[in-house]
């Protein structure tokens, strides 16, 4: 009985997931690291330090998860929820898509379309964004950004192109 309540308590804690993530990362690092030559302590191979770090990360992950069960661990004032109070899925999606759009439009159509798409998509994430305001913002940043980076700083990226054929 007691085991199941403490298990339930554990699953409700954020640090359980924090520790778990570190544990998984550490395991991955250590397993992949053991495929490289470890060598001896005197002549260390490329796999020695990463594997050691992976093992250390596994131990730290266990410690983080265990510490969340200690009495008084809750009183640090941190919120224990995994998601913030108002999850912003749309805004997060927009922010993450913005570099992707920059890559796509930048590679195939040049710096100006890339910049415009990057700013436009990112700006859509704000809940007060309007189409008009977003277009204006993206245009202003495009004009300013292209003149700064292309003319002044000479970043070798064509301003306008078609499907990447320079």
């Amino acid at each position: 009985m007691r085991l199941s309540t403490s298990l339930r308590e554990l699953i409700g804690k954020r640090d359980f997931y924090a520790g778990g993530l570190m544990l998984l990362l550490g395991l991955g690092i250590a397993l992949k690291g053991s495929s490289y030559r470890a060598g001896t302590l005197m002549h260390m191979g490329p796999g020695f330090l990463p594997t050691a770090l992976g093992i250390l990360l596994v131990l730290l992950g266990i410690a983080i998860a265990a510490a969340s069960l200690a009495p008084g661990a809750d009183e640090h004032g941190d919120d224990q929820s995994l998601l913030p109070e108002h999850p912003q899925w749309w805004a997060w999606f927009c922010i993450l898509m913005s570099p992707i759009a920059f890559i796509f439009f930048g590679r195939y159509f040049g710096m100006a379309p890339g910049t415009f798409a990057c700013v436009f998509i990112a700006a859509l994430g704000d809940k007060t964004a309007s189409w008009k305001g977003t277009v204006i913002l993206a245009s202003v940043v495009t004009v300013f950004g292209v003149s700064l980076f292309s003319y002044f700083l000479q970043v070798p990226m064509p301003i306008l192109t078609w499907r990447g054929e320079f």
Binding site: W92, I103, G114, C118, L137
Partner: protein, 527 residues
């Protein structure tokens, strides 16, 4: 000794007064002051955005500018916290406590004026300390072999991760993760690929700029998008006339200012305790020795100038271990060190003798930059105050563009732009899980050098791991590491017990301070 330092300083002024250097210094402090004022942009993100632009510059100009961004942002951050009650940057969280009540009483201008003055005093002290202490440290550090360097780095990493914000174990986990990320790519000694998963773009390792912009740019934007409360500009009507303090104010601020400066400089000598901790310790000390501690928090000028002087003295002091030992105390310093490394300069004790222009030029530029900041902040206060009103919905999309183009320009490669998106997502997951990603950068920058020195130490000692405790200097560092870990565990156990007792102690005790700063920054309280 003193003569040598003064002649070095004289030489440094010569370097810093070269027209292009003084221009870059000005650009740096201007941009720094600007982002310091803007809520939601930090010096870390700004320095990483500017980093690719410095590749074409000479190393001196580059480091002068990036350094300027860092201390410029500290000046700007004070405006934000005093007038808006928004601690945009953690070191200024404590300034809000007395700064904003002063603003409500209509004395915000006075608080700002004295803050600028106190900041200048604090910074000047920090610079003086740097001039005289760095050569001494270098003299000691030149005797270090690989074993000493290794254990010193270990101490720096441990201090940086356990004394910073948040839970110490999580900090250490982040450092370990950073050390690992530093090992991705081609192994320097054997030339074999590590963790590249067949992607040739990763052969040179993870790009420092992509890591920094992912963690401190994209992850931060994801954290604050649609969460930033609308800004209350009711009190931001401050002009230059309001800034002149009365004689009584000057008198009351004088001693707290110096006490703050001293606390800050002491804090900067302990690796890992950056400006945030310095400001909290200074405030707590000032409150403790004050004759009327109950009045703190109601708008006392002492409660504003003391932490601000301490922040600035510690910011400048943080450059000491970074420049003289090559061991950065926090993530910003790690980034500056990374910038030097990109320029092909090897950080470490030999830096001052091999590149005196960089070291002394930087020291001299600190004076020049701080004077510029005083000049920028006093007459132009109206402009800075107007900038406070720039809404976040314009800010972060524009910043996203700078992130993308900055990462692209580092190598002219789109792969890194994808890298920054992946790192950003990962960084946000870490933030939500209660990790503070700053130690990752610390581990990442020191990682390759740590591995190199560790290997060398092991080779020299013929695989004897005990070499770290057999050599006396190294043994001292290892002992300090153990004391650090021991005291953390001790305070943790003791703290857990104290939590159960209802006795509410000092509101801002030294221990709770970083925690509080983190919370305040997360919550971004608005009136």
């Amino acid at each position: 000794m003193i003569e040598q330092a003064l002649s070095g300083l004289w030489y440094g002024f010569g370097v810093a007064f070269e027209p292009h250097n003084i221009m870059w210094c000005f650009v740096g402090v201007l941009v720094g002051n600007m982002v310091g004022v803007l809520p939601g942009m930090g010096p870390l993100a700004t320095i990483s955005i500017l980093l690719p632009l410095t590749f074409g510059m000479k190393p001196v100009g580059a480091i002068l500018m990036l350094g300027g961004v860092m201390y410029g942002a500290q000046y700007g951050g004070a405006i934000c916290s005093i007038l808006l009650n928004l601690p945009c940057h953690p070191p200024h969280a404590v300034t809000c406590l007395d700064g904003f009540p002063m603003t409500k009483q209509g004395r915000g201008g006075v608080a700002l004026g004295l803050t600028v003055f106190a900041s200048f005093v604090g910074a000047s002290w920090g610079i003086t300390e740097m001039i005289f202490l760095s050569p001494l440290l270098v003299k000691a550090a030149l005797q270090f072999g690989p074993a000493e360097v290794c254990s010193l780095m270990l101490l720096g990493l441990l201090a940086g991760s356990t004394l910073a914000r948040g839970s110490p174990i999580k900090g250490v986990a982040m450092t370990v993760l950073g050390l690992f990320l530093g090992s991705v790519g081609t192994d320097l000694e054997t030339g074999s690929e590590r963790y590249t998963f067949g992607m040739t773009e990763l052969d040179d390792g993870i790009e420092l700029i992509a890591l920094a912009l992912g963690l401190f740019g994209i992850a931060e934007f994801m954290n604050s998008v649609n969460q930033v409360a609308p800004i209350n500009t009711k009190y931001t009507n401050v002009g230059i006339k309001d800034m002149r303090p009365t004689k009584a104010d000057m008198k009351r601020a004088f001693f707290p200012m110096w006490r703050g400066t001293i606390v800050g400089s002491l804090c900067s000598l302990i690796p890992g305790t950056g400006p945030t901790i310095a400001s909290f310790v200074a405030y707590a000390t000032e409150k403790k020795i004050s004759k009327h501690p109950e009045k703190f928090g109601t708008g006392l000028i002492e409660g504003v100038v003391c932490p601000e002087a301490s922040t600035h003295s510690s910011v400048q002091g943080d450059f000491i271990p970074t420049m003289s030992l090559g061991i950065p105390g926090d993530a910003v310093m790690a980034l500056l060190l990374g910038a030097l490394m990109i320029q092909g300069i090897v950080p470490g004790p030999q830096l001052i003798s091999q590149h005196p222009d960089i070291f002394w030029g930087l020291v001299a530029s600190f004076w020049i930059g701080n004077i510029m900041l005083v000049l920028l902040n006093v007459p132009l206060i109206g402009i800075w105050v107007k900038m406070l009103a720039i809404p976040y919905r314009f800010l972060y999309p524009s910043a996203m563009f700078f992130v993308c183009i900055g990462v692209y320009a580092a190598n002219n490669d789109f792969f890194q732009v994808g890298e920054v998106a992946v790192i950003g997502l990962f960084g946000y997951v870490l933030l939500r899980l209660g990790f503070h990603p700053a130690p990752i950068l610390l581990g990442f920058v020191l990682g390759p050098r740590f591995e190199e020195n560790f290997r060398r130490a092991m080779l020299i000692s013929r695989g004897d791991i005990l070499v770290f405790v057999e050599r006396p200097i190294s043994a001292v560092f290892v002992a300090l590491c153990l004391i650090l870990i021991g005291s953390q565990i001790y305070f943790r156990l003791k703290g857990a017990k104290a939590d159960l007792e209802p006795a509410a102690e000092n509101a801002v005790s030294d221990e709770a301070a970083p925690e509080l700063a983190a919370q305040q920054v997360r919550a971004t309280p608005a009136e």
